[in-house]
């Protein structure tokens, strides 16, 4: 037990650095993904066929070509075209684009799920587009989209484990290094538990935000069960 504690104390600084790298990538990626998801999601319900088609192509492209390929493309190919980013930017952009595309489907689905009468009412009141989205549609769609974002955030955090391949020393990288000083089970046990805690905390925060959004709509009691359709739809 003493040996274990000593080993753990010795490993703590490395684990901390790895955790910080993972958090920077995850939170940066999530912030970018959220912006992209909102923009693409709103554009996906545009009146103009051209806009909708362009969004469709972008979304299907980023959902279809695998995160790993995209990250490698940004990291290995872009510098050859003279676009050189530091590894953090590369990681955040890759995560943001990929999960932003998935997220836009969540946003689109939630906007479409707002009852039609709400849309018609805003038209009847001749509200401008920004006003009706901001004051009427978005607050209702927001409560619907958080569960979808929750799933995607967990996936994004897990996807950040790829960072080692673009020369960042994230938690996965550190875990593999620690295997040499600690034993396999301890090193991976620690790594997995830290990842689990990060995911769990993020997931609780989003659940709290969901409850708050529902309370503001006066829906606190009527919590909808997580339907698998929303889950599966966000992934396909």
């Amino acid at each position: 037990m003493r040996d274990f504690i000593d080993a753990f104390v010795g490993a703590a600084p490395q684990l901390w650095d790895g955790t910080v790298t993972t958090l920077i990538l995850s939170l940066g990626g999530a912030a970018l993904a959220f912006v992209i998801a909102c923009v693409l999601g709103l554009a996906a319900i545009s009146r103009f066929v051209v806009v909708r088609t362009i969004v469709r192509v972008i979304v299907e492209f980023f959902r279809g070509t695998s995160l790993v390929v995209q990250m490698f493309f940004l990291f290995f190919v872009f510098p050859m075209w003279g676009i050189e980013w530091d590894p953090y930017t590369t990681g955040i952009v890759a995560l943001g684009l990929n999960y932003g595309a998935y997220g836009s489907e969540v946003v689109r689905g939630s906007l479409n799920a707002v009852p039609k009468g709400q849309w018609e009412t805003t038209t009847a009141l001749s509200m401008s587009w920004p006003l009706k989205i901001r004051r009427v549609i978005w607050p209702q769609a927001w409560a619907l989209m958080i569960p979808g974002f929750n799933n995607l955030l967990i996936m994004l955090i897990k996807g950040s484990a790829l960072a080692g391949f673009i020369f960042l020393q994230d938690l996965t990288f550190v875990t593999e290094q620690l295997r040499r000083t600690l034993d396999t089970f301890t090193a991976f046990g620690l790594g997995l538990v830290i990842y689990f805690l990060i995911s769990l905390i993020c997931s609780y925060i989003l659940r709290w935000m969901e409850l708050r959004a529902q309370r503001r709509l006066g829906l606190k009691e009527a919590r909808k069960p997580r339907t698998d359709k929303a889950l599966g739809g966000a992934v396909a």
């Binding site: 695998s66 390929v69 050859m80 967990i154 996965t172 396999t184 790594g191 997580r226 396909a236």
Partner: protein, 213 residues
């Protein structure tokens, strides 16, 4: 750096063979594993007494909320006797079984209570109730969602690069490293993913509409 068709055609066979021999094998065997295990978890969650069921929920959450690469590396180092391909199939299968369990659970919960009560009234044994009454109805709603998870799994197979399995994207990266031409291998790998996953996703959407009541 511009696109070189000759080089692209030169690397295409190697990438395709890696795709067929590793990526596709892991996806197919992994999906079947995940579908079977997922069903076991879902039935377990419903049939087990509260305390073990709660424990199972935590285990499934733990697997679902920790990254595939760490799990892959863990099994890879913990059981050196397994080949990278075997590690990949086992871990990807288990990882996605936790997602599929949720799909099954939703399908099983969508069965009206009356069906269970009718089975009890007819004094059907539990196994027969599941096999003949509940599952045939539940699976109908579940299959498209399982397909979507299989597509997600397919796009996660490049994570096998962590344990040096000769998977398509690792091969593409090796080719790039040796020749300093990354454009063609990565573009082809990306397009192969898109070409395989997009039509399947559309198929699943069609299936979903057809199977819906």
């Amino acid at each position: 750096m511009s696109w070189d068709w000759e080089f692209a055609l030169e690397v295409l066979p190697e990438l395709l063979s890696a795709f067929l021999r590793v990526t596709l094998v892991v996806t197919v065997v992994g999906s079947v594993t995940a579908a079977v295990l997922g069903l076991v978890w879902a039935i377990g969650l419903r049939s087990l007494p509260p305390v073990p069921a709660r424990a199972l929920t935590w285990v499934l959450d733990f697997i679902r909320m920790t990254p595939l690469p760490v799990q892959l590396l863990f099994l890879y180092y913990a059981v050196p006797a397994l080949s990278p391909l075997q590690v990949g199939i086992i871990i990807i299968g288990i990882h996605y079984s936790t997602y599929m369990a949720e799909s099954y659970r939703a399908g099983i919960e969508s069965i009206p209570k009356g069906q269970w009560e009718a089975a009890t009234a007819l004094s059907l044994p539990t196994a027969r109730t599941w096999r003949a009454v509940i599952l045939p109805q539940a699976l109908r709603a579940t299959i498209p969602s399982l397909g979507n998870w299989a597509i997600a799994m397919f796009k996660d197979t490049p994570f096998l690069i962590f344990i040096a399995a000769p998977e398509m994207v690792s091969i593409a990266r090796n080719i790039g490293g040796n020749t300093f031409r990354y454009v063609e291998p990565f573009t082809i790998a990306g397009l192969i993913f898109l070409a395989a996953s997009y039509p399947t996703a559309i198929l699943m959407r069609k299936l979903e509409n057809r199977l819906a009541y």
